[in-house]
Symmetry: D2
């Protein structure tokens, strides 16, 4: 339990280094009876796959996954689902010159401080490559949620100064655009901006967001395991994320109560709706049946070709210029990772919620 | 483990409702041999105590704590430390009219949806009163951290439009000012703004921040239990927090790599420093020995006297106007809660880190 | 999480020392909507209360419990249930002579080795008194299980050489007999044997057993959290227990497959029964709907008046003779502790099982 | 976390079915800086490998393991160690006739009741084959423990009526003998007994034991995570184990305090020893520096060729006679599984203990 597991019931464990033989994910606690095959997972992996556009690294990762356990005759059995991706196209040699130098903005220095020992090739475990394993879990969780009528959709809100127009939101645009932005105009502008950054040997950041629809009211737990608290952990655990917002997020600080409160309204089916959704679908840590909104600020890719000052493992000052295959912006590939982490968090909260009411126990065990 | 526990080794469990007989905290996993008495905890509780200024509710909570276990002859024994606060000055009657109405912006509706049953008096478990129990744990964790040369200090950055001038930072000002702001001028302006809000039967939000100094490089765990991910969970679990930022936070989205990267520099003692601290002391989820910066956006207090539309437990539209003793802004009292949650998170990560290196095991068990 | 918590969903945390101000239990994860009051808990506490017969210590513990949270208007709210017992009749002075001497068979030495510091009064946290807190949790769990048609009954099988006749089993005899044996004749003989031990300044052990009826097939989890594995942890965690058996237990080692296998038989209602129950109701770690049988061997009370060799905190050889108020046999009071631990384990496994099937999720969330 | 993980800091997760493509283990929390390669693990796997003697199934499992992550240039990096074994020689067809019939003594019926769906081939996840993954973790834990001077040795105490003579104990005999018994004479007799069982189309059980030497006093945690409680969970989680004893185990029930108490004695180095070791090295759940003794009773292999009554998935009575490749006794191959589970439990408790004293924190973080 040294940090590689997440979830209380739908519990995922990831393993694997950037340049090791393979990486993977073990999902323990997936309900039995869900149809599942590699074909459900591959599209998620493809969305974070590099090498398919101008905005992403030229590194080619086939990222073909193999389900090794937990599925029998096309259905989950309730036992751990182990899924593996063999690494390929590993240019470990690219990293030889980084062997004893700490890259600014990367975890090289901190891993070395912690363990006294590190796999320097591509960041090892701290590489963004680790997120491929999370995406596997996200694909499985999304499949389960879909059967319950819950959708989880992430997209790019902004890249550098270019903001998407949410009135133009289209899921198919998110999936088609190289930037994962939901509108075409912003996508085009963002691509220009990224190209400019690349020319300047620099990199840029942006904002990504996840919208979760269909979660019934009552999901999430009080106090420390509030749904927003777990979503915050989930999102902040993604490498380059430096801020997590729920609903109106940082804007609430300058709002006032009369405007920020979402007033309630009776709905025809006996349910309750809200006239606005400043809260982003969560009140007191528990879902209120409105859309759940999670937003992340992502830092510029730290690997840049510009010369930077740094220090060697021996504690000597030196300079570094990072060449190789790096994304000038990480967001387009990180969007599916945010979507995956949100899906896992929501499903786990849902499964955890089942036992919170005595009448649910009676329904299932006293028939 | 339905959400009321936090921490992996230094593990805290809080219990208690706003208007029940008592509330408290059990700390399991505190190291043995730490000097501890109620006098270490009381100052923390006093900082979140209401009723001592114009900015806070008139409700008087003596909040006198009693250590019930885990301490013998003035030192911790390594066994669970149970601390209790008896509730007093409970005007449960104030809440009778709220019995079957859901207050906008509160957790009344979501608790009801989840459990089918709720303690309506003052929000019960969802009340901010629950945080008194967290402050107990924070006081204990801070005591342990101080012995290791680590300080944890939270303060108000802004209230509504009024921002503190961080160049004027003074810990004593934070502790003395009614707003918990670190400078006197901003404090005065903020108090005016709050008074104005109160006159308008409205409320306001703000920003609070925590600065942690002295954490050695190497603390935190990879992947899901990244130090920033756990700090994000810790901070977002505080009632009214809607955004958590680490270091530059949301600003990184519009920065570029060459500016956002903190370049390294050799320090005289063989250590490594950074020329800047955009990262807020954490790289790849692990501390880098710079100051750790955690910032939270806090929403305006939802309890306001203005008339709002809402719905009854029976699903009928109605209106509500909340009177009684409520803070027009929650931040001044929430600052010590943020400080407490950060202290608990850091200590837990530190204790968890001990076993991450074989040479540490050898040092302790093979002498 | 330094050992004072148990359970994954129905999670209990106990705290308190033998001679501190109080002890208690926090139950997090109890379903909402269960009728509960102190009157449900007190009978369980009374069963482990000393001072009411010749077989138990003369120490008088009123053991009156107070529910401090989690119950509102007579029903559980789903939030943590905190229950406290104030200690009384503490003759701490009785232990002054033990201040720096390690009692053989007790945890004095090992606690001192671990923590470098200990509360020597009555064993502090290692005292059997800690089990009062478990019994609180057991009472709550039993209440929930009873509503689902599941009963948990523990009793004494043997004391020293005196064995109960299980053909004479009567629950009321268990509750009435001073030895907690299920038959009257054995009870009388055992009392004689205990009196004899007392005269000889010695103590004795015995065997206690728990029978759990009504658990549906399918409860428990594969591999490490097998139902019998968790029951083993639960039972072995009771102070003086040195062996845990499930079903035929140690006898299986000398049996053969053709005799030990329980052959299946179709039951009228479409269910499956077994012709025998050597397995004790658990196959592959999962309940099979037969009675679940857990059996524990309990060591003789280590506190005896006879002179024993031992060592002081300073590492010097010395002798000790333990006077004061001690049970010559611990089993009669431990029976309700075993019953409590089994109830907590079964309820937790049941609540955990809810999410193991997709059709259960569909039933609850897609209506 | 549906039961496939064990350990709090040194945390193992196993996955894989008997007749799926592969099985494996992920170890999260192994300290960095331990020399490790497949050559450290293979000997453990070979000890549980079938097919190498008259006592074991003829099924040939090459059980060649591959380390996929967590090791770099021959040393552990502190990140998750993933180890996989590809399944081979799978005669899934052998199980076709068992597709809809529940084997007595097996988990077929209970898995079906739980999940409504099961992999019938060889028991799927409930197969003893799962333990190969545990043995991987045991090999790693043993390597770490050996560096700290702690040894973990398991062996067969008895098979059916044949008991080993412990005065003849020899580790090399344990490793050489087909029965894993520590003396040659008993080994020969046991082989005769097993052959007799096989002829009778029957199977037998036995007793296995683990002796752990070199654990310092102070390891283990109070209350629920007592060292013996966790060892009991660990041992009882092994498929066919029906009883777990610590030290004198079931015999304590008929002993008396004056005999069962282990009296203390000062040792030359300031340490404390015991004149006897009835307690099996654990007092109050914490190690006392004596040898730790864990003993398990193992049931006869349920797969027998004799005709047994059973029921089909459709609830109809039928008969079954199980042919194929099955061990007439499971103990010889289970011994290394017990050894592995004990090693994992002890190492985890040791790593957990590090943070229990303030002076340890000061030693590591305040230098």
């Amino acid at each position: 339990m040294a940090g590689s597991s997440f979830g209380r019931i739908f519990r995922i464990t990831t393993w694997g280094e950037s340049h090791g033989p393979a990486l993977g994910c073990v999902i323990d606690g997936c309900p039995a009876g869900v149809s599942l095959s590699e074909a459900d997972i591959q599209p998620f992996l493809d969305r974070r796959k590099p090498g398919n556009s101008a905005v992403a690294t030229a590194r080619k990762e086939s990222d073909t996954c193999e389900i090794l356990s937990g599925v029998f005759e096309g259905k989950t059995t309730g036992t751990p689902i182990s899924v593996m991706i063999r690494n390929s196209d590993m240019h470990s040699g690219d990293y030889d010159e980084l062997k004893s130098v700490f890259r600014p903005g990367h975890a090289d220095m901190t891993y070395y401080a912690k363990y006294g020992y590190r796999d320097h090739r591509g960041g090892g475990r701290s590489s963004g490559r680790e997120t491929a394993a999370r995406v596997i879990a996200g694909a499985v969780a999304s499949k389960v949620l879909a059967e319950l009528g819950i959708s989880v959709e992430a997209y790019t809100r902004s890249i550098g100064p270019v903001e998407a127009d949410m009135d133009e939101y289209s899921r198919s645009a998110v999936l088609a655009n190289a930037t994962a932005m939901p509108d075409i105009t912003a996508n085009a502008k963002a691509l220009e901006y990224i190209a400019d950054m690349k020319n300047k040997c620099d990199s840029c950041g942006g904002v990504m967001e996840c919208m979760i629809k269909g979660v019934p009211a009552g999901i999430g737990d009080p106090v420390f395991d509030k749904l927003d608290a777990l979503l915050a952990q989930a999102a902040m655990s993604i490498g380059a994320v430096k801020a997590v917002e729920i609903g109106d997020g940082v804007k609430v600080a300058s709002s006032v109560g009369s405007r920020n409160n979402d007033q309630f309204k009776a709905a025809k089916n006996g349910h309750i709706t809200k006239k606005t959704n400043h809260a982003g679908g969560i009140l007191g840590g528990i879902s209120d049946s409105s859309d759940i909104i999670v937003r992340c600020s992502v830092k510029p890719t730290p690997s840049i070709a510009r010369t930077q000052k740094t220090v060697t493992e021996n504690g000597e000052d030196t300079e570094i210029s990072i060449h190789g295959r790096h994304d000038p912006v990480i967001i387009p590939r990180a969007v599916v990772v945010l979507e995956s982490m949100c899906a896992v968090t929501i499903l786990d909260a849902l499964m955890y919620d089942m036992s919170s009411r005595m009448d649910n126990l009676v329904r299932i065990y006293k028939s």
